[in-house]
């Protein structure tokens, strides 16, 4: 049996990215995935005869530099862009916003000339703010307080980027980070439908309403990750990201085992020495957990190894899974009243106003399900016929709020969503051959995502930067020596691969592009 330098538990895009870079840095890496699909919940799997659907996230983009550095195109990555966002409005109305900003401005002018004028300047401000985040996401957060040498370098680079924006822009960007999306939308726009559509990205994936403070940070986070408004997936579904990364990893000598069985980290005297998987013990000098902090420190590592103070911090992490996912197997391509066939390759959003989003949250807040939920709908088969039998289609739905702490009944959820969409697509019910419903509870039980959080911990300002995943442990290390975290739970959160690359840097990999 060969020995490994590094063992990674879990196989999300961040885990595989870390594996690739570490292998390039000369490490012998083993990736262990207990489920049958590489990627865990970031996977596309058959849910009905011949129909494949994304399990967790239904869009996502790998960091462009990582795609280049790891030559993922050569390993089969084919990005499919969703170039439009269609807002579904009451009365079976809708409008479709194209990614092209000039074209979008024209569409908006159709209902509000004031908003049309402001659209481009708004998007430019969002560009500045999200570029700034992107820079902050590319580095390990400052370690010391007060900041010391490395930290000061990191911070002064970020500060000069901000200053470079100009005086007014600099403070505008700083404001944005802490604003509620309601406030931001009110500052810029007047039409409820545009506010709702743009604002919805601010509450995507979190258990907060659109009136809540700091929600703009969540929007900027998604935009910084290339997953804000006009999103993308891969050929073969979101799992295509992991497939390409896995191929690149294997080509660099990484070994990947799926269906590996139950795993735990072996710790001796506060030092991780390897893992136990099934009945095997495998030694390694470094162990990296791709799982969220709570799962890692309650299931993978024996709690007695940890200080009470640390356990408390782990307990205080907010997960609050609030997203339910549906995959519908459809007999044929559905028609949405007033929505062009072209727009069906984009994202359809049911978020007609900021108030609608807050009301959707009101139910969720008290542990019920929203009766008027916020929905995002894609029909991935429009751009990728390989996901369904010939002529048939898959419809993917993202539904909020279906909080973890509520008694969500999958059948009720399915009926609710279908009924909600039937206003726009009256024969939807008759097209459904099969429905898969995944609630936060399923995400937790099947994929070990604590409270069903698809991001390994809520994406909010209190859990960002030097506070993610746990204040004092934002540099990917843990209280257990030689044990690291690399997943979406860590800075910056999300599936871009950035945390995987940051971990590799922390572990000494310097050359991101091999000679």
């Amino acid at each position: 049996m060969s020995t490994y330098n590094t063992i990674i538990l879990g196989s999300s895009p961040n885990a595989l990215t870390a594996a690739c870079y570490l292998a390039r840095g000369g490490k012998k890496v083993l990736v262990l995935e207990p489920s049958e699909h590489i990627g865990g919940a970031v996977a596309t799997a058959q849910f009905a005869d011949g129909f494949k659907g994304d399990i967790g996230l239904m869009s996502g983009r790998l960091e462009t530099e990582i795609v280049k550095e790891l030559k993922l195109a050569d390993h089969g990555l084919e990005v499919i862009e969703r170039k439009t966002m269609t807002s579904l409005l009451p009365g079976a109305k809708s409008f479709t916003l194209p990614a092209d900003r000039d074209a979008a401005e024209k569409v908006i002018a159709g209902f509000s000339s004031a908003d049309a004028k402001k659209y481009k300047p708004f998007m430019q401000l969002v560009d500045l703010a999200s570029d700034f985040l992107r820079s902050a996401y590319d580095v390990t957060p400052p370690r010391h307080h007060p900041p010391q040498k490395d930290d000061v370098d990191t911070l002064s680079k970020l500060t000069s980027q901000l200053k470079g924006y100009g005086r007014r822009e600099m403070t505008e960007v700083m404001r944005l980070l802490v604003m509620s999306i309601r406030d931001l939308m009110d500052e810029w726009f007047v039409s409820p439908e545009l506010k709702g559509l743009i604002g919805s990205a601010a509450i995507r994936g979190i258990n907060q309403g659109s009136f809540a403070g700091n929600t703009t940070y969540t929007l900027l986070h998604h935009v910084a990750q290339g997953d804000g408004f006009f999103r993308s997936t891969a050929k073969g579904g979101i799992g295509g990201l992991c497939q390409a990364l896995a191929a690149a990893a294997k080509a660099s000598g990484v070994e990947i085992r799926t269906k590996c069985g139950a795993m735990s980290v072996n710790v001796a005297d506060g030092v991780a020495t390897g893992v136990t998987v099934g009945s095997d013990t495998i030694d390694a000098s470094i162990v990296i957990s791709d799982y969220d902090a709570r799962y890692t420190f309650t299931h993978l590592v024996p709690p007695p190894e940890l200080e009470p103070e640390f356990n408390r911090a782990v307990k205080n992490i907010r997960y609050n899974g609030a997203v339910a996912r549906l995959n519908l197997a459809l007999k044929e391509l559905p028609k949405f009243a007033g929505v062009s066939d072209d727009a069906l390759s984009g994202t359809l959003v049911l978020a007609p106003s900021i108030t609608y989003l807050e009301k959707a949250y009101d139910g969720g807040k008290r542990g019920d399900i929203s009766n008027q939920p916020y929905l995002e709908v894609t029909i991935p088969t429009v751009g990728d016929a390989s996901l369904a039998p010939k002529g048939k289609h898959v419809m993917s739905v993202w539904m909020q709020y279906a909080p973890y702490h509520s008694a969500v009944k999958p059948d009720h959820l399915r009926d609710l969503v279908i009924q909600q969409l039937s206003e726009f697509c009256p024969n939807l019910k008759s097209l459904v051959e099969h429905a898969e419903v995944l609630t936060p509870r399923e995400f937790e039980s099947q994929f070990h995502l604590t409270e069903g959080s698809l991001y390994g911990g809520e994406i909010n300002l209190t859990q960002a930067f030097y506070l993610r995943p746990i204040p004092g442990f934002a540099q990917y290390g843990t209280p257990i020596s030689q044990l690291y975290l690399c997943g979406s739970a860590t800075h910056p959160g999300g599936i871009t691969g950035l945390s995987g690359r940051n971990v590799a840097r922390e572990l000494g990999v310097r050359d991101m592009v091999p000679a």
Partner: protein
């Protein structure tokens, strides 16, 4: 009236709110010839006591003092000018099930009381108080700072930025992390980390929502919670004090200090507009047409009122006007005062503990209750069961009511300043009834002893005191409106785009509450420019 030298001053302060008065007093003491122009019949603004019904003195706006800067008290010698603050000694939270929660100055007694609800909370309570105190003390130096402009490279701004960094760097790493979290999280989440008792969390969360149009579960309320702790002088207990004669007595004391420093104060003098020539403020014109000239004009009114009503937009840069327009000022707070023919009897008040009536009485039995109160109001409505912070001033100062009678002051949330269909007399009466009904559920004899009832809705606070949207802090204490962003990014140092024109009210750093800090800091900024 013609322009005579009698009408010329070094400084004109528009508005005699407590900050305007503090500002005037400092400038007067520095030798300036200062005129304060107050629109109402009395000074004080939101810090007033008014005899609305003969013999009954009402606190129609603010009611307690806690954040008043000690420098202001000392430097203006407010005690000598008649200020007497009596500490509030207890909090009483009646609960629906006939139970209650209370705290007293006696530490052991409070501990036992909390233990009665949760043993774990009793243990966490002291540590919580210590941590909040530590954070508050760490932040306190920021209150007295003229905020720096982080985009500026002037020596002055760089030096202040370094001082800000110094304040943060002086904290331990753990405290810095905790502060970062508290500033960005919700009061509810923060309290959930500390406590399990429903009632304890209910009463504690209210510090996070006072004057704030957010529910305790909204991120941002953590900061407001901390804001209200900055004044808690003695750590464990909420060190809020009652001024003999009500908060108006504080304004009178400051006014007296100002007059002693040579400041002239004219009431019943509403300013119609600021006169601006070539980008410079030259004086003001009153609504009656009177004109006064001055080398410096300071506005104590809120930013919206100052820059959207008193100054023509043509004198201001577009960016600045849009900053003022976007400044969030929607308000959820009302003030109710009751004249009573006796004392309310709370069914849940234990026999022998009637002294609890002398403290705060809080209708905030749980976070869910307060959050529901917010939800009811957030789309332009009002709470069906409001949160209230009540006080019986006549028990602390018998002079507040005729012998044998009492006054009760109730701070109430939430009722939207943007009420659907707008406010009118009928809606005022309806909401006032809701407040009284809610209180009567806890004190059933209330309606029997009720002589007069009086409500100040956001509509009234705007009409009578000039608070835009009735906002008690001259604008939301939301993170995007704090420190160097208050009220506008490049204009947080009390100066304005108009030369010789300054701001000194609660729309500026460090925001609302009876602090005197904006007034004092603005005076320091003015004296920097015009020693």
């Amino acid at each position: 009236m013609s322009k005579t030298s009698n009408n010329h001053y070094d400084v004109i302060v528009i508005g005699g709110g407590h900050n305007g008065l503090v500002n005037a007093a400092y400038l007067g003491k520095a030798g300036k010839k200062v005129l304060v122009l107050e629109q109402r019949h009395t000074v004080g603004g939101a810090t007033v006591t008014e005899e609305v019904y003969p013999g009954f003195k009402f606190l129609i706006a603010s009611y307690l003092i806690s954040l008043l800067r000690p420098e202001v008290i000392q430097e203006l010698e407010l005690a000598r000018h008649g200020l007497e603050i009596m500490p509030l000694e207890s909090t009483f939270v009646p609960l629906a099930n006939g139970n209650y929660l209370a705290d007293w100055p006696d530490h052991e007694a409070t501990r036992h009381e909390i233990e009665r609800h949760s043993k774990r909370d009793a243990e966490a309570y002291d540590e919580y108080a210590r941590v909040m105190k530590r954070l508050a003390i760490a932040l306190r130096p920021l209150l007295d700072m003229i905020p720096p402009d982080p985009t500026s490279v002037t020596a002055k701004d760089l030096e202040t930025m370094a001082r800000v960094r110094g304040v943060l760097n002086n904290m331990t790493r753990d405290d810095f992390h905790l502060l970062s979290r508290l500033m960005t999280m919700s009061a509810a989440d923060f309290l959930d980390e500390w406590f399990e008792g429903t009632a304890l969390k209910g009463t504690k969360c209210t510090s996070g929502i006072i004057g704030t149009f957010m529910g305790p579960r909204s991120p941002g309320t953590g900061y407001v919670l901390l804001h209200h702790y900055i004044g808690e002088l003695d750590g464990t207990f909420r060190a809020w004090g009652f001024a003999r004669g009500g908060t108006g007595a504080l304004s009178q004391a400051i006014a007296s200090a100002a007059r002693e420093a040579g400041v002239e104060i004219k009431t019943n003098s509403p300013v119609a507009h600021v006169n601006v020539k070539n980008g410079e403020a030259t004086g003001v014109t009153l609504e009656n047409g009177d004109e006064y000239t001055a080398g410096i004009v300071v506005s104590n009114a809120d930013a919206k009122r100052t820059f959207l009503k008193l100054i023509e937009p043509k004198h201001l840069p577009d960016d600045f006007v849009s900053d003022v327009n976007r400044f969030r000022i929607a308000s959820p707070a009302c003030k109710v005062n009751l004249a009573l023919d006796g004392l309310p009897e709370f069914t849940s008040m234990p026999k022998g503990k009637e002294a609890l009536l002398r403290g705060s009485i809080e209708i905030a039995p749980s976070i869910d209750y307060v959050e529901q109160a917010y939800d009811d109001a957030k789309y332009g409505g009002w709470s069906r069961k409001p949160f209230m912070d009540a006080l019986i001033p006549s028990l602390l100062d018998p002079g507040m009511a005729p012998p044998g009678k009492h006054v009760m002051s109730l701070f109430v949330q939430y009722a939207s300043s943007d009420l659907e269909g707008g406010w009118n007399e009928e809606k005022k009466a309806q909401f006032l009834d809701i407040v009284i009904d809610t209180l009567a559920e806890h004190a059933p004899n209330l309606k029997k002893i009720l002589i007069h009832k009086h409500i100040m809705t956001p509509w009234d606070l705007e009409r009578m005191i000039g608070l835009t949207s009735g906002h008690i802090f001259h604008g939301e204490l939301a993170l995007q409106q704090l420190f160097f962003l208050r009220p506008s990014p490049q204009w947080s140092n009390y100066r304005t785009p108009i030369k010789n024109m300054y701001m000194c009210g609660s729309s500026t750093h460090p925001g609302g509450c009876i602090t005197g800090a904006p007034g004092r800091n603005a005076a320091l900024a003015i004296l920097e420019d015009r020693p």
